[in-house]
């Protein structure tokens, strides 16, 4: 079915073009560069952090359907919409526990939300992986896809 394939390629091209235009027209909401009260890390930073920090908790702030595409090994799913001091307390009883938040990427605000909630709840040792799953995949780090 080469025709279908060709059509598909065209459609992608057109869609990309459309999206690019769309993006150019409307400035997407990007995550802030920094969130005070958190330490921002990259994908490599995450790996180094995990190596150095045995009790590190990695929180996946994405909703469940996004997580189906794959997730960083050993991460715990807690969508930002479900995040509050209680739900956090169930997972992280100690306020000094090192915790890292990530979501899809720079355009995803969920890890930002979750981080802010965690700060508000009084967590002290917070890390924020701003690049999220997109950066992870791009750098070809292994992920788990169930």
């Amino acid at each position: 079915m080469p025709e279908l394939k060709t059509h598909f390629i065209y459609m992608i091209l057109i869609y990309a073009l459309f999206n690019f235009n769309h993006a150019a027209a409307e400035e997407p909401i990007l995550a802030p560069e920094l969130i005070s009260g958190t330490t921002r890390v990259s994908a490599e930073g995450l790996i180094e952090l995990a190596e150095k920090t045995p009790g590190l908790l990695i929180i996946d702030a994405r909703i469940r359907s996004d997580r189906l595409q794959g997730y960083i090994e050993s991460s715990i799913s807690l969508p930002d919409v479900e995040t509050d001091c209680d739900s956090l307390a169930k997972i992280i009883p100690e306020k000094n526990t090192p915790v890292l938040f990530y979501c899809n990427g720079v355009k995803c605000g969920r890890s930002v939300n979750s981080s802010k909630i965690a700060i508000a709840c009084g967590y002290k040792n917070l890390y924020w992986f701003r690049g999220g799953f997109e950066e992870w995949q791009e750098k070809k780090f292994p992920f788990i896809k169930s």
Partner: protein, 788 residues
């Protein structure tokens, strides 16, 4: 090349044809270029499709390998075996993978699984795998090992993929980190890429061939085409990360259909370009035709028409066409108009008599031709009047040419008025002639006029018109204080009764006119019985002018003999004309014509000259005098004495040897003038003789007053002298009186001995006649002289 021999149409046709050929050639050339371009684009399209497919397949393979690697290590059995370094369990776990679903269902073709430690040294290699990897890693996948070895820190956690060669076939190696986020080692998942790549032929619907760099064929679709069909190939080469080629993937497409399509397209393009070229040719031919060829043809056609009929000159020519054509046409029109005007004025001059403004002889001939043509078309007869003025020469001679000219003008006006054609001045163009009828009055030259009258077809009317003309001309003309009366002679011919063609008609009109003159009637209508002499005269008149030049005139001599002694005492020169057609013409027939035409003057001079030449040689003529006859007209010429003087001098002749013979009427026509001339001649010592004495009205009493030396008694008296006593008495009386007046007497017409005897008895001095000798040429005369 001389292009001037071709017409503009040929040259343009040639150029357009060449352009058409060029367009055809371009279409052919562009066809092949087009084909190459199509092949190129098809090839690059195939290449692109192939690239996308390969990337996609390899990507899929990488993903599956990666998933397999992660899934394998995420089992607790694996984790604990790894943690406890239980190689046996690990080997078992690895071997188990060769029996998993995606391997058994041919989703991937798993070749080998190898577990490495953090330092990429082999821990365990599956024994199920078909690739013997352990110990040869650097030889099989040097790039992968180099890349992996260079990494530090977190980078070591990223998954690496590499295509490598193993025993003449490609293998796909995925290096998946083991240990979650904390690196514990690597798992090499080695698969056969050919397996997935071979599937591309079905998805692309194109036959596929997978080759190693040394052209060893690893895979080939069953539908791989023959090389004979010159298929279109497209290659895609997969290289290792350091750029070493590993696999070449080639697709093929049968060009048969494409070539056929191209051929079809080419035919279409050719047809369209041919049609367009034809359209352009037709269009440009049409444009050129209307802007150049048609106007040029019009111009050349007009030139041709003008060449045939100059009277169309000056007609404006309107043409459509380009600016240049318009300029040429304007120039042509200007020139044509100027030439037309010039031509008209020339024609007017050529066909008009400048003095009287009447049509001239040329126009007369043209009109006559027209009238004849008109009759042949419409059956309309006409009458031709030939009008000659009498006594006009006298006016010219006595009153001068200016009076003569004015008289001619007045005559012209009166003729026109009488014939009611005063409105006709000049007819130049044939059109107006046919419109207005052919009635005209023309001056043919000198005092000769002509009129052509239509609408008359019976003799009564013709006579009425002639009478009217005669009557009109009888009225005197007042010219410059002179009251002049002139007469006219009219010759009339009617067409078609009196001649079918112009020449006959005019000559018959001449005959009629001369008839009128000779009969002293004013007009004469031609009829065939008019004496032939008139015609002969007409002919002689024309020929006489050339007679001297043509040596047709000769002198004959007749002797004068002394009656008493029989001695030759003189000779009379008698003129003869050897006409080339009519033969010998006697002087009686042509002298009147010479007198009438004025040609008598040169004839007389010739005769004098010739006679004096002949008799200047005394040895041959015994020194006897020669007699020459003079005309009345000679005596009116006051140059006569000097002419004779010169002739005598020329031939060194004593004047006593020249005798001039004159008739009585010659002297009587203008006695006073004649006498003065005769006195002069006598004074020169020349002898004078009265010829044909007795026939005129003169008397001896009158002759007595003249300086005359001799009288010649007319032959009519001498002829019957022996039979008629009256004649004898007259001759006797004349001789007595002549003796008394001291005149010598010559008797003419002596034809027999009796007459001579009678003359002797009567006391005649000299006799002349056939009895002695008839007039003979000089040579015979000399011989005769010797004989006597």
């Amino acid at each position: 090349m001389n292009l001037s021999v071709f017409s503009i149409r040929t040259i343009l046709g040639f150029i357009i044809g060449m352009m058409g050929l060029l367009a055809f050639g371009l279409a052919l050339l562009s066809g092949s270029v087009h084909r190459d371009l199509v092949f190129d684009s098809q090839r690059s399209m195939m290449h692109e499709l192939l690239r996308i497919e390969v990337m996609e397949r390899l990507g899929d393979l990488e993903e599956i390998s990666q998933s397999l690697g992660i899934a394998l290590q995420s089992t607790s059995a694996f984790k604990s075996a790894l943690a406890s370094n239980d190689d046996e369990v690990l080997l078992k776990l690895l071997n188990n993978q060769f029996h998993q679903y995606f391997v058994t269902a041919d989703v991937i073709k798993l070749e080998q699984l190898v577990l490495l430690d953090k330092n990429i040294s082999t821990i365990v290699e599956s024994s199920e795998g078909s690739v013997h990897f352990s110990g040869q890693e650097q030889a099989i996948c040097p790039d992968l090992y180099q890349r992996a070895g260079r990494r530090t820190g977190a980078d070591r956690m990223s998954i690496l993929h590499e295509l490598c060669q193993y025993q003449g076939r490609p293998i796909q190696v995925a290096m998946v980190p083991v240990g979650g986020l904390i690196l514990k080692g690597y798992l090499l998942v080695i698969t056969d890429p050919t397996h997935v790549l071979a599937d591309i032929d079905t998805s692309l619907a194109m036959p596929l061939r997978i080759m190693l760099p040394d052209n060893t064929i690893v895979y080939q679709s069953s539908a791989w085409p023959d090389d004979n069909n010159s298929p279109l190939f497209s290659d895609y080469e997969i290289k290792t990360s350091s750029g070493v080629p590993v696999v070449l993937i080639r697709t093929a497409q049968n060009t048969g259909v494409l070539t056929e399509l191209l051929q079809q397209a080419r035919v279409e393009v050719m047809m369209i370009s041919g049609f367009v070229t034809l359209l352009i040719v037709v269009l440009s031919a049409f444009i050129l035709r209307s802007t150049m060829i048609v106007p040029l043809n019009k111009l050349t056609g007009k030139l041709r028409v003008l060449h045939e009929n100059r009277s169309n000159m000056g007609e404006k020519l309107e043409v459509t066409g380009t600016r240049e054509i318009h300029e040429i046409t304007d120039g042509f029109n200007d020139m044509s108009q100027e030439l037309g005007k010039l031509y008209q004025s020339l024609e007017r001059l050529a066909y008009t008599d400048t003095l009287t403004k009447l049509p001239n002889r040329n126009q007369f001939q043209k009109s006559l031709e027209m009238s004849i043509k008109h009759y042949q078309e419409n059956g309309k007869p006409f009458v031709l009047f030939l009008i000659d003025l009498d006594r006009f020469k006298g006016v010219n001679d006595t009153l001068g040419h200016h009076v003569g000219d004015e008289l001619l003008k007045a005559v012209s006006l009166r003729l026109q008025h009488t014939l009611r054609i005063e409105d006709i001045v000049t007819r130049v163009d044939e059109e107006s002639v046919s419109k207005m009828g052919n009635d005209m009055v023309a001056r043919l030259g000198g005092d000769e006029f002509s009129a052509i009258l239509t609408d008359i077809d019976n003799e009564e009317d013709v006579i009425a018109v002639a009478e009217k003309l005669v009557k009109a001309m009888e009225q005197p003309f007042v010219v410059k204080e002179h009251l002049l009366t002139i007469g006219l002679s009219i010759g009339i011919v009617m067409y078609p009764e009196h001649g079918k063609d112009m020449h006959t008609l005019v000559s018959h009109a001449d005959v009629a006119m001369y008839n009128a003159k000779s009969q002293s009637s004013r007009y004469s209508i031609y009829n065939s019985s008019l004496n032939r002499n008139t015609l002969l005269n007409l002919k002689l008149e024309q020929d006489l002018f050339s007679s001297i030049k043509n040596n047709e005139l000769v002198l004959h001599y007749q002797s004068k003999v002394e009656v008493a002694t029989g001695d030759v005492v003189g000779a009379e020169a008698l003129l003869r004309w050897h006409h080339p057609e009519a033969g010998m013409i006697p002087p009686d027939d042509f002298i009147p014509i010479a007198e009438y035409t004025g040609f008598i003057q040169p004839i007389t001079e010739w005769v004098l000259d010739k006679a004096l030449e002949d008799f200047s040689k005394g040895s041959v003529t015994n020194g006897i005098p020669v007699s020459v006859n003079l005309s009345a007209l000679n005596l009116r010429d006051e140059r006569l004495p000097s002419i004779i003087g010169k002739a005598l001098k020329k031939w060194s002749m004593p004047p006593e040897l020249l005798v001039l013979e004159l008739t009585e009427s010659t002297i009587m026509s203008d006695p006073e003038f004649s006498v003065s001339i005769l006195m002069k001649l006598d004074a020169m010592g020349i002898s004078l003789s009265i010829d044909d004495f007795g026939t005129g009205h003169s008397s001896l009493a009158y002759v007595k007053q003249l300086p005359v030396d001799e009288i010649k008694i007319d032959k009519s008296f001498v002829k019957n002298i022996t039979k008629d006593s009256n004649d004898a008495a007259v001759v006797h009386a004349v001789m007595v009186l002549a003796n008394h007046l001291n005149l010598s007497v010559v008797a003419e017409g002596v034809e027999d001995a009796e007459t001579l005897e009678m003359l002797r008895r009567l006391g005649c001095d000299v006799a002349q006649g056939y009895y002695f000798s008839k007039p003979v040429p000089l040579e015979q005369f000399q011989q005769w002289l010797k004989a006597v």
